[in-house]
C-alpha cells in the first residue's frame, strides 16, 4: 500500500560544538492522500526537523522520506509551508505576498490568473478587503491566515504546518481551526501539522502521532475517523475527553514523567 507521505526508519543527528546531537531515531510516519496528520511531542524533540526533512530542505542521515512515490532528495515545488512566524514580506501587499510562490514554482500561474487565484484564497479565509494592506496593518491572526493562503496558492500536494497557530490567543486559534476545515473542503490537500495543543491535534487531525523525547521516534499513533466537518462542540464530548486523556498520558511518557503503561481507557 502506498501513501502520499511515507517516512521510513529516519534517523538524523545535528553536528554541534559538543559532538553529534541525535534528534530523530527510528521515525515512522505515513499519511494517506487527503489525510491530516497532527504531530505532537515534547519541546525540542525534533518536530521542526521532521518538517524540514519532508520539505526536502535537509536529507536524513539514515532512512527514507517518500512523497507521491518519489524519494525526497531536494526541495520540490509541490509543498507549501507555514510556520509559527508568518514571515510575510513588509514591502509587498498582502495580495503580492500570497502570490509570491507563483513567481517561483515552474509553470506557476501568471498575471491576471495568479491574482485571481490569490484573491479567491484570501476571500476563502475571510481576508477579502485586505488585499492591498501591508502585513504590519493586520492582526496576528489575519497574518497567519495570509500565510496559509501563501502556502496554498500554488496548489501543493502537501501542506507542512509547523505550529502555525502557536502564537495566537485561544479564541483566534479556534477561529483558525474552523477556517482550516473550511479551506480543506474547498482545496483538498494532505497535511502534516506540528502542534503542542492536543485539542488542536484531535480537532484537525485524522491521525495524531506522538513523538518520544529527543531523539524522537514514533511512540504512539491515534486514528480519528471523521465523516463530517466537526464543530467546536465536538471537543467537549466524552470521546474527545478520552482521546485527550490518552494523548496527555502519552506526552507524559514521552517527557519521561510517567511510567510506560497505558491508561485504562482505550480509544
Amino acid at each position: 500500500m502506498t501513501h502520499l507521505i511515507d517516512i521510513k526508519g529516519v534517523r538524523h543527528a545535528y553536528d554541534t560544538a559538543s559532538g553529534p546531537l541525535p534528534v530523530l531515531d527510528g521515525l515512522e510516519l505515513s499519511v494517506d492522500e487527503g489525510g491530516f496528520c497532527a504531530v505532537v511531542g515534547p519541546s525540542g524533540c525534533g518536530k521542526s526537523t521532521l518538517t524540514r526533512l519532508v520539505a526536502g530542505l535537509m536529507r536524513p542521515d539514515h532512512g527514507e522520506v517518500w512523497l507521491h512515490g518519489q524519494q525526497v532528495k531536494s526541495p520540490r515545488a509541490t509543498v507549501g509551508m507555514a510556520f509559527q512566524n508568518p514571515v510575510l514580506l513588509e514591502w509587498r501587499t498582502i495580495l503580492k505576498n500570497v502570490m509570491l510562490p507563483l513567481e517561483i514554482v515552474p509553470g506557476g500561474l501568471r498575471g491576471k490568473a495568479a491574482e485571481e487565484r490569490a484573491r479567491y484564497l484570501l476571500a476563502l479565509v475571510g481576508l477579502d478587503g485586505f488585499e492591498e494592506k501591508r502585513p504590519s496593518e493586520l492582526s496576528g491572526g489575519m497574518r497567519q491566515r495570509a500565510s496559509l493562503c501563501r502556502a496554498l496558492v500554488h496548489k501543493p500536494d502537501v501542506l507542512i504546518l509547523d505550529e502555525p497557530f502557536g502564537a495566537l490567543d485561544a479564541f483566534t486559534r479556534e477561529d483558525l481551526w474552523q477556517t482550516m476545515h473550511e479551506v480543506k473542503a474547498q482545496e483538498p490537500f494532505t497535511a502534516i501539522l506540528i502542534t503542542h495543543d492536543l485539542r488542536e491535534a484531535i480537532f484537525l487531525g485524522d491521525q495524531v502521532v506522538v513523538l518520544s523525547g529527543r531523539p524522537a521516534r514514533t511512540q504512539h499513533v491515534m486514528t480519528i475517523a471523521r465523516q463530517t466537518a466537526p464543530s467546536l462542540d465536538d471537543l467537549y464530548t466524552p470521546e474527545a475527553a478520552e482521546r485527550l486523556n490518552i494523548l496527555r498520558h502519552e506526552i507524559e511518557i514521552a517527557q519521561g514523567r510517567a511510567p510506560q503503561t497505558a491508561p485504562e481507557a482505550t480509544a
Partner: protein, 255 residues
C-alpha cells in the same frame, strides 16, 4: 497642501533665524571679518567668485558621488560575502575594523604622495576609503540576521540562492543599507574635502578654501564652508529621497 508648505517653511525659517543670530553675534561683539565673517560679508564673496564656486562645487560634487558609488559597489560586495559566509565574516571583520580605525587624515598625505598628480583619482579614492565601511557592515548584518524561515519559504519551493537574494534578502536589507548610506554620504564628502585641501594644485571647494587661506580672504573661506554645507544637505536629501522610493515601506506608520 499645508503639510508641504510647513515642510518647506519651517526649515527655511529656522535657517533665516540662524543667519540673523550669526549676523547679530558678529555685530554685537564687533568682530573684524578675519576673526569671524558675518553672513553679510559672504554675499560679496559669492558675487565676486560665483563662477569659481560653480566650477569647484561641481568638481567636489562629482568626485564625492563617484567615490560614494565605488563605496556602494565595494561595500555591498564585501557585505554580501560577509553576510553569506560565517568564515568570511570572522576573517574580514577585524581587518575592516582596523582599516576603519586609521584616521583618514593620516592616509591622505600618503595617498597624495603615492599617486602624485593624479588628483581626481586620489580624491575619489579617499572619498571611497572613508565611506565604504558603514555600507559593508550594514549589508553584512542585514543579510546575516535574516531569519531562516524567510529563506525556507522560498527554498522549500526550489528557489535558487540568487532568487532568494533578489526576492527577500536584498529588499529586507534595504532599510539598513540606506541608514548606512546616509552616514556614508557625509563621510565621502569629508574625504573629498580632506584631499582637496591637502593636495597641492588641487581643485574643488577644498582647494578654493585653501586659496582663501593663502590670500587671507576670510569671507571667501566662510563662503566655502557654507557652500560645502549646502552641497552636503543636497547629497543627504538625495539619499533620503531614494530611500523613500526604494525602502519607503519600512517607515513606521504614524499612530
Amino acid at each position: 497642501m499645508t503639510g508641504t508648505l510647513r515642510k518647506i517653511a519651517v526649515p527655511a525659517l529656522a535657517m533665516l533665524i540662524f543667519l540673523a543670530l550669526w549676523e547679530a553675534l558678529v555685530w554685537i561683539n564687533g568682530w573684524p571679518n578675519y576673526k569671524m565673517a558675518s553672513p553679510s560679508d559672504l554675499w560679496p564673496a559669492y558675487v565676486r567668485y560665483w563662477e569659481l564656486f560653480l566650477v569647484m562645487g561641481w568638481q567636489t560634487l562629482w568626485r564625492t558621488v563617484l567615490g560614494l558609488l565605488l563605496a556602494i559597489v565595494v561595500g555591498v560586495g564585501i557585505g554580501m560575502v560577509m553576510g553569506f559566509s560565517r568564515t568570511m565574516r570572522d576573517a574580514l571583520y577585524p581587518l575592516l575594523v582596523g582599516f576603519n580605525a586609521i584616521p583618514k587624515a593620516t592616509v591622505v598625505p600618503i595617498v597624495a604622495l603615492m599617486f602624485v598628480g593624479a588628483h581626481d583619482f586620489n580624491t575619489v579614492l579617499i572619498a571611497f576609503m572613508i565611506s565604504f565601511f558603514p555600507i559593508a557592515v550594514s549589508v553584512s548584518i542585514g543579510l546575516s540576521t535574516l531569519e531562516p524561515e524567510y529563506r525556507d519559504i522560498l527554498r522549500a519551493l526550489g528557489a535558487s540562492q540568487a532568487t532568494i537574494f533578489w526576492k527577500i534578502a536584498l529588499p529586507k536589507t534595504l532599510p539598513e543599507f540606506f541608514g548606512a548610506l546616509k552616514v556614508a554620504v557625509t563621510l565621502a564628502f569629508i574625504g573629498t574635502n580632506l584631499m582637496e585641501i591637502v593636495s597641492p594644485h588641487g581643485r574643488g571647494l577644498g582647494a578654493l578654501f585653501d586659496s582663501g587661506k593663502t590670500n587671507s580672504d576670510y569671507p571667501l573661506m566662510f563662503a566655502v564652508l557654507i557652500a560645502l554645507a549646502a552641497l552636503g544637505i543636497l547629497l543627504y536629501y538625495i539619499v533620503v529621497a531614494l530611500e523613500r522610493v526604494f525602502a519607503g515601506w519600512a517607515e513606521r506608520q504614524p499612530g
